[in-house]
């Protein structure tokens, strides 16, 4: 997480108001220990929350995007969008590092000179979109799209923002690495939800990243183990409030993508109640209980019901 402003480090209540940050930041602790304190208190803490704008971005819009892992918004040009995800090219304030895989936007586009690293274009969740701040003209959108398509086709950008990188000594190589690292926070809410097509394995992957056990989460390890293994139906095994709690606790962004994954989990493993008593099979082994036949209609209905309940629980 980024540091507070210098002025807050000079505030009368810096040591207490910023205690959480100061624990992990030598730089800010050193400053607080040195500066004279002003009479004013530090800025109020920010409440970081998902914005959940009712309006969704459209191609050609310029929006701000939110992530729980950064306190700044990222501005991005929207190339494509639907209810679940948005394809963007980020727009940065610092154009110094422009190379031949970047676009440089003149001041008349957004009101300030900006860098659009085409190579850093990627998806975010629709729920990360905060507010529209500008709209690109058809020509400007065409420029973005042409650049994006050229980059992913391995061709030169039609209107590159800077000269090419000729060797690894070029400091722009390292500067671009830093830009890429800084953008990870923006893209991770989307990328964390792409590791599988069902919610269980996605939860398992995230839990492994965090080093959190099922016991840490206070859930039944047998039930959740099967769910994470993509072997069980959360509709019958995991109450919706518990699912919502775990989603939040492991830092998955409440989103339509989460609902789609939950829907997929139920849809893949749900067995309709009325078919569990199916006729005995002649070759059924003794001691093995009958496994009901899947009823796709009922599975779909259960999946929607579970996803709707989860949406309410997650505040979507």
């Amino acid at each position: 997480m980024t540091c507070p402003p210098f002025s807050d480090l000079c505030a009368s209540d810096a040591a207490t108001a910023l205690a959480e940050h100061l624990v992990g930041c030598s730089r800010c602790r050193a400053i607080v220990a040195r500066v004279d304190k002003t009479a004013e208190p530090a800025s109020q803490p920010i409440t970081v929350h998902a914005p959940y704008s009712a309006i969704r971005p459209r191609a050609g819009d310029v929006w701000t995007f939110w992530t729980s892992m950064a306190d700044e918004y990222t501005v991005g040009a929207v190339l494509d969008a639907n209810d679940v995800e948005v394809l963007i090219i980020p727009i940065l304030m610092e154009a110094t590092w422009a190379a031949d895989e970047d676009l440089v936007l003149a001041q008349d586009v957004l009101g300030y000179v900006a860098l659009a690293p085409v190579w850093a274009g990627d998806h975010v969740l629709a729920e990360q979109a905060v507010e529209a701040v500008d709209v690109l003209s058809e020509k400007q959108l065409g420029m973005f799209r042409n650049a994006y398509e050229a980059f992913f086709a391995g061709e030169p950008l039609p209107e590159p923002g800077g000269p090419p990188v000729l060797n690894d000594d070029d400091p722009r190589v390292a500067a671009h690495a830093a830009i890429s690292d800084d953008l990870k926070a923006l893209y991770s809410p989307w990328s964390l939800l792409q590791v599988a097509d069902e919610l269980g394995p996605v939860v398992a992957s995230r839990r492994a990243d965090l080093g959190v056990t099922l016991d840490d989460l206070g859930v039944d390890s047998n039930v959740w183990g099967a769910f994470e293994g993509g072997e069980s139906d959360p509709y019958v095994a995991i109450p919706v409030p518990e699912m919502a709690r775990v989603v939040r606790e492991i830092g998955l962004t409440p989103s339509r993508r989460v609902l789609d994954l939950a829907r997929a989990s139920v849809g893949a493993h749900h067995i309709g109640e009325n078919v569990t008593g199916a006729p005995a099979m002649a070759r059924r082994r003794r001691g093995v209980s009958a496994r009901g036949r899947r009823d796709p209609e009922r599975a779909r209905a259960a999946a929607d019901q579970y996803a709707d309940a989860l949406a309410k629980e997650l505040g979507l």
Partner: protein, 313 residues
């Protein structure tokens, strides 16, 4: 200014309105606090020392040139959802504005220094006057025939350079690039083909973003500006330590601490959860910060590290 005031002001500007006076007053407050608490070293001041007039002038110039003129206020507001983020970004912008403002005055003698270097006997030439083409002794001899874009690509390929020294002793000499770095730059450029001195200087200006439209500054003015206290004096060092800490980001501070302990770059990257390229980028920026401290850098760096490790314990 409260969070609600900020949200209202942000909405006004993002909707195309003029920045409310309350927002500008908060920017002025940030500049004042940076100065009064040593977040900005004295050599960043247009007068060489900080006083009320200097703060007012810096604030007015930042508003006119960068915040409004270059649209940076709008850019910052788009990215800052909360007041504390806005204040942090304003502080960074003001600091960068002051650093950028010092470049042109130091570029004034660049052409003379380049011609002097080219005439030192280590380079060959043909032609005469301003059209004289300079080349390395062993070539290449063909003229460089690229445009500005290609010229800049070659200039970037020469790697990182540390620009601008601010301390009293160095500032009299005003080197945008040290003698060694200027020579490395010139040799590197001529490796791409023979060039006029003007082309080499053009490459310097492109590479280091020196704006021809800005006043280049007068040497007498520059000397007048530098009414800095004794560099070795403890109060100045103390001020520079605070200013350096303020300029470092959290990640740069951690990179600095790791590097001072000789932690390998790859391991440091793993610890900080970033790439080795990012570590290189942070090191370059740290070197730039230290270069601006000139002869004071070793003292300041030692003290900065002491403070960082002391608090870390």
């Amino acid at each position: 200014m409260t969070e609600a005031d900020y949200a209202a002001a942000r909405s006004v500007v993002l909707a195309g309105g003029d920045p409310p006076s309350m927002l500008l007053a908060d920017c002025r407050r940030s500049v004042g606090l940076l100065v009064s608490n040593a977040g900005l070293p004295a050599h960043y001041s247009p007068y060489g020392v900080w006083n009320r007039e200097a703060v007012d002038e810096v604030f007015s110039d930042w508003i006119a040139v960068r915040a409004v003129g270059r649209g940076q206020l709008r850019a910052i507001l788009q990215r800052a959802p909360a007041l504390k983020v806005f204040r942090r970004m304003v502080e960074t912008s003001v600091r960068q504005h002051l650093i950028d403002g010092l470049k042109p005055s130091q570029a004034a003698n660049l052409y003379e220094r380049t011609v002097e270097l080219l005439s030192s006997g280590d380079f060959g030439s043909r032609g005469s006057g301003t059209g004289k083409l300079w080349h390395l002794a062993d070539g290449p001899f063909d003229p460089f025939d690229g445009d500005d874009r290609q010229l800049l690509a070659v200039a970037w390929s020469l790697g990182a350079f540390e620009v601008i020294r601010y301390d009293l002793e160095a500032r009299k000499l005003s080197p945008l690039l040290s003698a060694d770095d200027l020579e490395r730059f010139v040799v590197g450029m001529l490796s791409a083909g023979s060039m006029t001195a003007a082309t080499v200087v053009r490459a310097v200006k492109l590479r280091f973003a020196l704006d021809d439209d800005q006043p280049s500054g007068d040497l007498e003015d520059a000397l007048h500006v530098i009414a800095a206290p004794e560099p070795q004096s403890a109060p100045v060092i103390a001020e520079l330590v605070t200013a350096t800490l303020a300029e470092l980001s959290q990640r740069q501070a951690r990179v600095l601490m790791g590097t001072s302990k000789e932690v390998p770059g790859r391991e440091l990257a793993a610890r900080l959860g970033c790439s080795t390229g990012t570590i290189s980028n942070e090191l370059r920026q740290i070197r730039e910060i230290l270069t601006r401290l000139g002869a004071d850098a070793p003292y300041v760096l030692k003290e900065v590290l002491d403070r960082l490790f002391q608090d870390d314990v």
